[in-house]
């Protein structure tokens, strides 16, 4: 059973797909970008942020980027724009803005 380059799956010819679609590369969902689904995108105002990490805890898609214990931004390749982070933020530091199609 062959391993597959999941980042190219949308372009595969029929023969390139593994038999039955069995994916052998564990943990490759990170390579499958789903961020294009979103209509609204969160934007963090770091002047209001108190680093409580609520957004990191509540995010259902692990899309709040944290480095050395601090929120540093949003992984827009996987954030689907659900708005939970903005709703849970106790300091209203996250605003949902209309997502603009990246060309």
């Amino acid at each position: 059973m062959k391993k597959i380059d999941i980042t190219r799956i949308q372009e595969f010819s029929p023969e390139e797909h593994p038999i039955g679609g069995h994916i052998q590369d564990a943990g490759n969902s990170e390579l499958y970008k789903t961020g294009s689904w979103k209509t609204f995108m969160p934007e963090i105002d770091f002047s209001k942020c108190i680093q409580c990490l609520y957004c990191f805890i509540y995010c259902p898609d692990s899309s709040i980027l944290v480095e050395e214990g601090k929120v540093v931004g949003v992984d827009y390749d996987h954030c689907k724009g659900c708005g939970i982070c903005a709703a849970e933020c106790p300091k209203d530091a996250i605003e949902m803005k209309e997502a603009i199609e990246e060309e």
Binding site: S13, P14, H17, I19, G20, G21, H22, T34
Partner: protein
């Protein structure tokens, strides 16, 4: 070739015996007439420690097929058996089994679909699953059902195939009638079937099965691959038939024929009633009528090129269907026959005989009547395109 034991077995007992010799890793099934006695017998083998099978007693056929999909995806050799409404309840999983390319073997003891409720044989259950992407093999008697069950995993697990296989034989006529069945030695079957090493194994490698095609990005390509795999399985199936002949002396083919070389009227049929049609073909030959017989064994993939080769010189074709396709031009088998002929530009009279629904007997007199219609059609006279040959209360000439 080793000497074989001849045992008096019902079709279901013969299949249960084959299952014992195969010793599958997992069997999940739910009782339904006329399949039930297969699992009754097989669960005895499990209880008596004659097999190593994990027998999953599920609460429905929906769960039975789901369970074997799970076990097959994990790399276990997996089987189930059902009939009629049970197969219908498996419907959504049938497509999942073939889409995930899992080499599951399903024994389907053919029975009519309700309503009205009827437990007897016809092929409407299997025909409902016709487009689910499974390999489908139809058997005439208990011997064929036993042999096909042994061959099924060799076809399903072939690396050029990886598709589920449905073994069909007629409810009651075959499943519950005792017949002399030549049984292979346990070791011969064990060696023939061999060990199964799945190309993927959930227990060894974390695997994602049935991943979501989020925005229609590759479903289309998948279905093309699946179609190719089913078509390409045709030569593999014949290779397995050939290899089975070496151990059993019984050589199967996709299509079996009699008196076909100079036949003007050809009867096409599959399943247990082939015997009655064969009888009338022999009788016709004794009278000098050029009748011939084509029995379809491998139904999916449909061996269309071979079918055309056999039928192209005939003057008229009479196709016996034990299922209907309401509102369509012809019933399923007849549609396949006419499609195959049309593709190769052979246009000739075809009579579609609907018979045996809900276990209705096909009388020899009715087959003779079909022969007369076939003779008329071959002589350029008018003929019915579709006839319900056993209908009650019809006018007698």
């Amino acid at each position: 070739m080793d000497k074989q034991k001849v045992l008096a077995l019902t079709g279901n007992q013969a299949v249960a015996h084959a299952m014992k010799q195969i010793n599958p890793d997992v069997v999940a099934a739910y009782p339904i007439t006329p399949q039930t006695t297969i699992m009754e017998e097989f669960s005895n083998y499990v209880a008596n420690g004659l097999v190593d099978t994990e027998l999953v007693r599920v609460e429905s056929e929906h769960s039975a097929m789901s369970a074997v999909i799970g076990s097959a995806a994990a790399g276990a050799r997996s089987m189930t058996a059902t009939s009629a409404q049970g197969l219908a309840l498996m419907w959504e999983e049938l497509y999942i089994a073939s889409g995930l390319r899992l080499p599951i073997v399903l024994v389907n003891v053919n029975r009519a679909l309700s309503a009205p409720i009827n437990i007897h044989c016809d092929h409407s259950d299997a025909m409902g699953a016709r487009d689910s992407g499974w390999i489908m093999i139809f058997n005439e008697n208990a011997q064929e059902a036993y042999d096909a069950t042994i061959m099924a995993f060799k076809i399903a697990e072939n690396e050029r195939v990886f598709l589920p296989v449905m073994i069909n034989f007629d409810g009651f006529t075959i499943s519950h009638s005792i017949d002399a069945v030549s049984i292979l030695d346990d070791d011969v079957v064990k060696n023939f079937v061999g060990d199964y090493k799945a190309p993927y194994n959930m227990l060894e490698t974390p695997t994602t099965v049935g991943a979501f095609d989020s925005l229609g990005g590759f479903y289309y390509e998948f279905k093309k691959v699946q179609e190719d795999a089913l078509r390409n399985s045709l030569p593999v199936i014949q290779e397995v038939y050939d290899r089975f002949a070496e151990i059993s002396g019984r050589h199967y083919r996709h299509l079996e024929t009699e008196f076909i070389e100079d036949a003007e009227i050809v009867f096409v049929i599959m399943g247990s009633l082939t015997g009655s049609v064969r009888e009338i073909v022999h009788e016709a030959r004794r009278k000098g009528i050029k009748a011939g017989l084509l029995k379809v064994r491998t139904y999916r993939p449909f061996p269309e090129k071979e079918v055309v080769e056999i039928l192209k010189n005939s003057k008229a074709i009479v196709v016996f269907d034990r299922a209907n396709s309401p509102g369509a031009s012809y019933a399923p088998l007849c549609s396949d026959i006419t499609n195959a002929l049309y593709k190769e530009r052979f246009i000739k009279p075809v009579v579609n005989v609907i018979y045996g629904l809900g276990g209705r007997d096909l009388e020899l007199e009715e087959i003779e009547e079909a022969l007369k219609i076939g003779i008329d059609a071959s002589n350029g006279k008018e003929y019915p395109e579709k006839i319900w040959i056993s209908i009650k209360g019809k006018e007698v000439d």
